[in-house]
Symmetry: C2
Subunit: 213 residues, 2 copies
């Protein structure tokens, strides 16, 4: 993109592009597991249902990873993208809310293989605090800040009922957390420096019904 060096640090990459990179990583991993060494933007596009041009443009924000006439080396591209996304290391997370939803989230086997480790669980309910759930001893939320520091926790997962969600998110923010995965159905109030991503299946259903007639 810029040609004074090989770093693109002055360019802000659009957030839509960042949200697509994990899709590329996923397909590249699958593709290399099937023994393929090279992939073209066209093949990637077919697998992801997007245009080859978009994939090439997205990748061009970060460098020139392909070879003309050939395509991309699957392993190298995967590794580059993992580094760009910060997926070349593990990330520690804490979950707040150990009701039905929280229990389902901690027992979901999809996080750990991707390097996301839920190291601590919290709840306000005194009946739940102290219980052992999926190998985690549930702590009182009053211990959140010290636990975050002690275990180098960078991600907060919110699985409390909506009435408590904003309060819990405020507590996470105060404890220094900058990234929140939110399962409660609200648009939380957070400082601009904090990133919230919400998982909201009801919203998905409610927009799908528009097209169902």
């Amino acid at each position: 993109m810029n040609s004074n060096g090989n770093l693109n640090t002055e360019l802000v990459v659009p957030e839509v592009v960042i949200r697509r990179l994990p899709l590329y990583v996923r397909i590249l991993t699958q593709f290399s597991n099937r023994g393929n060494e090279v992939i073209s933007s066209e093949q990637l596009g077919l697998l992801l249902h997007m245009t080859p041009a978009q994939i090439r443009k997205d990748l061009s924000y970060f460098g020139r990873f392909g070879k003309q006439g050939r395509g991309y080396d699957v392993t190298i591209l995967e590794q580059k993208l993992r580094t760009i996304l910060g997926l070349d290391r593990a990330w520690n997370a804490a979950i707040i809310g150990m009701g039905r939803l929280g229990r389902a989230v901690v027992s979901y086997p999809g996080f750990a293989p991707e390097g996301f480790n839920i190291l601590a669980a919290f709840d306000t309910n005194e009946d739940i605090v102290g219980q052992n759930i999926s190998g985690l001893r549930v702590k009182s939320i009053s211990q959140l800040a010290t636990t975050v520091k002690k275990f180098d926790i960078k991600i907060g997962i919110v699985s409390v009922p909506i009435q408590h969600a904003q309060e819990v998110i405020d507590t996470l923010v105060k404890s220094g957390i900058k990234s929140i995965l939110n399962y409660a159905p609200l648009s939380p109030e957070v400082p601009a420096s904090v990133n919230v991503n919400s998982i909201d299946p009801v919203l998905s259903l409610q927009s799908m019904t528009y097209y169902m007639k």
Copy 2:
């Protein structure tokens, strides 16, 4: 928008707009439950962290619901949007995959109050078929097509492991389902007439890490 009548049927509403409508509905419901009768686009914007202009523009795709100098009647706007989205009726769903994830989904108490009723559960595993889970007798997937017809099921929820997801989605499509809520981590192959929405917390985490340094 067009001024020959009051119908905007020839205009295609952008999908981004449709995806925001459920947010408006949610806030309007909360706002009316607190006893408010009128809301302005500015108030809505503050609650949803978006600009008032965007909200007014979004609503203008469907009609003129506000009163200048006053704002929007909360109850009327909520009702109009529910009708537009098809939320003025209930929708029947079936879930396929009754492992840990499927059990969590059927026991999630957030669907039914919004009019999404999971009426049937399926699995391929013979140990699970026949079990009673959250009041649903798990059926064999071979009964999917007849059950879809019998119970007027319009939505398929996919909570099987990734290896079986595409096959299950093919089966749903063959049975006539046009709307799929997918919890498996893949970009499924479906005809253009079928709508798939994926819930993928790992993708969310993997893009958040880009900003965590």
